[in-house]
Symmetry: C2
Subunit: 282 residues, 2 copies
């Protein structure tokens, strides 16, 4: 099997590592516009060879593990140039705009829109790990537009990565993911900003921050390039989620202002229900 | 040594467990208004005996590990009834109002205001663990108001719990802690609320939420009674922090609305600096 991966960050690097573990006969070709990432991936045998995405794309599977904006920019041109046998799989965190951009492409059936619900706050191939996808969910969108033969092969690969598969349409995907993932990142980045702006003395943060702050602000370590691209791509859903978030904070603030302990307790007790929901997340 | 603990939750229970480990000659008397917590603590030998806080308070150290409002309500009456040798130590997350409430008490020197920067999102004696305070910071406020002999004894105890000591005045404590701890809890509770309100189908949250959401929403599992009390007690600082947080979110939202990728990247790159600060937190 011949696999190409464009984008050797956390996701691209981790897929390469795991694919090499589960397939004896595999050659992994990698590309990253960052030369350091490319050299690191080659030196550390995350990939076998380097390829140029502007030349031949003779792969069985070609993964796009770059920021969503960059996926959208190059997907049409890539589909123009692949042979019939190739399945191009994008791994971006938004799906609607990407699917729309190739909706009428004559090789649409050679494309699969996928979103692995897996990641850490770290980035680059140095953060790659082969068990990143273990027991995680892979969301596939608009699968009816992909060739069923190519789709079966991809599902087989995702299962080999240790993942379970869910399918949904791309509009629903982007709406839900805005709440369940993108909003967390913004709330965390803004928490980090608010504390850093206020506490110009880092020692105070050291001394007074406990594991609670650390956990809530963890995502503020995430890659700016990756996330600015996602926020802009999914802006309609994200803005809606932010408006609801701000509304909720303002209502909660009013309860604090009026020392309304009963309603604060009732509200927080309801939210405590997240405990049961979180038990289902690895 | 004879120690009393009012409030056998995560903090009170964990102190009991560690004190028993490091002191051979110690008797720990416990009280909790929740009978289940009291029975659990006795059965599991977290405490040695039960005591009634309305009767004799003949202890060397008496810890108050209850919600901050409850500390304020009973502190005067407790100081009225302790013998000269006793040091009363409160462990609440706010310090100014508590210190103010006993500022002119004739046994003020028998009181020490303390805040252990340690905790988890779990509560009750079932969550207690003897290493909770290991390598954590104990913040002491207005120590000049406490008898130096009693203070030395307390510091010895905190060191035995594995903690390092920082001192600050209670106004500064409450201001900083609003940003570094209380704000995290509200941002996390509100994230939980926003997602739960939107996603009435829990399966969607299961499927689409990754470890990032889990980490950011972790504090939304915290005890409502403990936190409503803190939010009201420290409302002036918390409201200030919430207003700055909302302002930051609104500015960030505007950048998303106008697809201002450059400023989004610049902003997030700055916030990424939290990485270095977090390295100092256990």
């Amino acid at each position: 099997m011949k696999v190409g991966i464009i984008g050797l960050g956390l996701i691209g690097g981790s897929i390469a590592l795991k694919l090499k573990e589960v397939n004896k006969n595999i050659s992994i070709y990698g590309f990253d516009k960052n030369n350091q990432s490319l050299d690191f991936s080659l030196k550390n045998k995350i990939i076998d060879k380097v390829f140029d995405p502007k030349s031949s794309l003779d792969f069985d599977y070609l993964f796009l593990a770059v920021p969503v904006e960059s996926i959208k920019n190059q997907l049409n041109s890539i589909l123009n140039r692949i042979p019939k046998k190739t399945l191009v799989i994008d791994l971006g965190s938004t799906k609607y705009e990407i699917c729309k951009s190739v909706k009428n492409h004559n090789k649409r059936k050679n494309f699969l829109a996928a979103h692995p619900i897996a990641g850490t706050e770290f980035s680059g191939p140095v953060a790659a790990k082969k068990d990143l996808f273990d027991k995680k969910v892979m969301i596939l969108c608009e699968t009816e537009m992909t060739s069923s033969t190519l789709l079966s092969g991809a599902i087989e690969i995702f299962k080999n990565l240790g993942m379970s598969i869910k399918t949904m349409d791309s509009i629903a995907h982007d709406k839900h993911i805005a709440y369940v993932s993108h909003l967390s990142h913004i709330s965390s980045f803004m928490l980090g900003k608010t504390v850093m702006d206020k506490e110009d003395d880092e020692q105070t943060i050291y001394d007074m921050a406990g594991s609670g702050f650390e956990s809530t602000v963890r995502l503020a370590k995430s890659s700016p390039e990756m996330w600015s691209s996602i926020f802009i791509e999914n802006k309609i859903n994200i803005i809606e989620s932010l408006e609801e978030y701000i509304l909720n904070i303002n209502n909660f603030k009013k309860m604090i202002e009026s020392s309304d302990q009963d309603n604060l307790n009732t509200e927080m007790k309801k939210i405590n229900g997240i405990k049961e929901i979180l038990k289902g997340i690895n």
